[in-house]
Amino acid sequence: MKGSVVQFAFIVLALAVGGALEDMLPAFGSIGAPVLLGAALFFALETRTPVWMIAAVAAGALEEAVASLPPATAIVFFAAVASAVRFFREPLVWIVAAYPAYQAWLGLVADGSGAISRVLLAFPVGAVSLAAVTALLSLAWRKAGADA
């Protein structure tokens, strides 16, 4: 029970802080650091079955709120990627591929202008940011005792 409370509090706090960070961090060219996507990927790897899906949906909803995206755009993508991460468990592949895939998805459903350059830019920006976010969350997760 205590472990679940800690996990729950950790997820809520991590998503709120992640949303604020994502909103405030400077953009690299036309794209920013995908902090919430990184959180969704991390929780998909670390938490139990209903929890990771709730975290992915909440992260997607928060992303839509902070980035003024059309409804369900990020929720659908985050839930799909979290499911894929959960079932195929290849963290390194997802760290490299998730953000370009997200930018391609946004280009399809939200804003097509400059989509190709955003996808290309998303490879280095996504790889560095997602690696940093998952490493930081992993450290904090263990320090907070949420892995117990």
Partner: protein
């Protein structure tokens, strides 16, 4: 064991409810993030600004003296404006003109620029409905027009910038000889805005200032928008298109002013 399972399910249910609230209310998501953004801004203004102020030393005190003088000059100008406003209202009444709608300006700090996947060109500012900000309010700075409030939460507002293509602004350029060139500002980038639907064939002097025309009924007349750099002919249309250098540098904005109707 049973109590532990029940507690876990209760937490999962609570998480699902929270996720649903965030899903169905965009405002809830923005408000959840707001305390952290506000906290960082407060830290940055109070601590980091003081640290950098200590580095700048005498330059800051010289700047302080010059700002005090500017404040005194602005106070005098404000008195003059009050007199002119009263005279203007009296003349409008005498000529049976419609009363200009009075309003006040609310200063708001820029919190962010729309996140990693921003679909539109927006700014998030730290004043919302609790401060009297309403959707559609005009947002400006002394240099010129910034945009319009697109959505409001209790503590924040999202401002759609004039560089977003979905925001159309009726503009005009005063030409020599009393002629006026009119067009519609239709977005662009932070560095260049597009002035479309220009019907006038008149020659435009280089670097003419562009102001809002007040014709759309949304923005009042006379707010600076930018400088007209060039006007191009469109071979497929009788209308011309211009390129405008924005009056405002959107990337360095720290504070904006939101118009609140009285």
């Amino acid at each position: 064991m049973k109590a532990r399972t029940t507690g876990t399910y209760a937490l999962i249910a609570l998480g699902a409810v929270l996720a649903a609230v965030v899903c169905f209310s965009r405002a809830a998501g923005v408000e959840a993030v707001y305390p952290f953004e506000r906290g960082w801004r407060a830290f940055s203004n109070r601590v980091l600004a003081r640290v950098s102020g200590a580095w700048r030393g005498s330059k800051a005190s010289a700047e302080n003296v010059s700002l005090r003088r500017e404040v005194a000059a602005l106070a005098l100008a404000r008195e003059d404006l009050g007199r002119l406003e009263a005279e203007n209202a009296r003349l409008r009444r005498a000529l049976d003109y419609a009363e200009a709608s009075p309003g006040t300006w609310i200063a708001a700090e820029v919190l962010s620029r729309g996140g990693a996947a921003a679909g539109r060109r927006t700014l998030r500012v730290g004043k919302g409905s609790l401060a009297g900000v309403a959707e559609g309010a005009i947002v400006s700075v002394p240099e010129g027009l910034v945009g319009r409030v697109a959505s409001v939460t209790p503590h924040t507002s999202d401002v759609l910038l004039v560089s977003d293509s979905s925001l159309k602004v009726a503009c005009e350029v005063a030409l020599p000889g009393g002629e006026v060139l009119r067009g519609t500002l239709a977005g662009g980038t932070d560095e260049r805005l597009a002035l479309r639907h220009i019907l006038s064939k008149a020659e435009v002097p280089p670097r003419s200032p562009v102001f809002t025309s007040g014709l759309g009924g949304v923005f009042p007349k006379g707010i600076a928008v930018g400088t007209l750099l060039e006007v191009r002919e469109d071979q497929d249309s009788p209308r011309r298109e211009g390129e405008v250098l924005p009056a405002v540098d959107f990337s360095t904005l720290r504070d904006v002013f939101i118009r609140r109707e009285r």
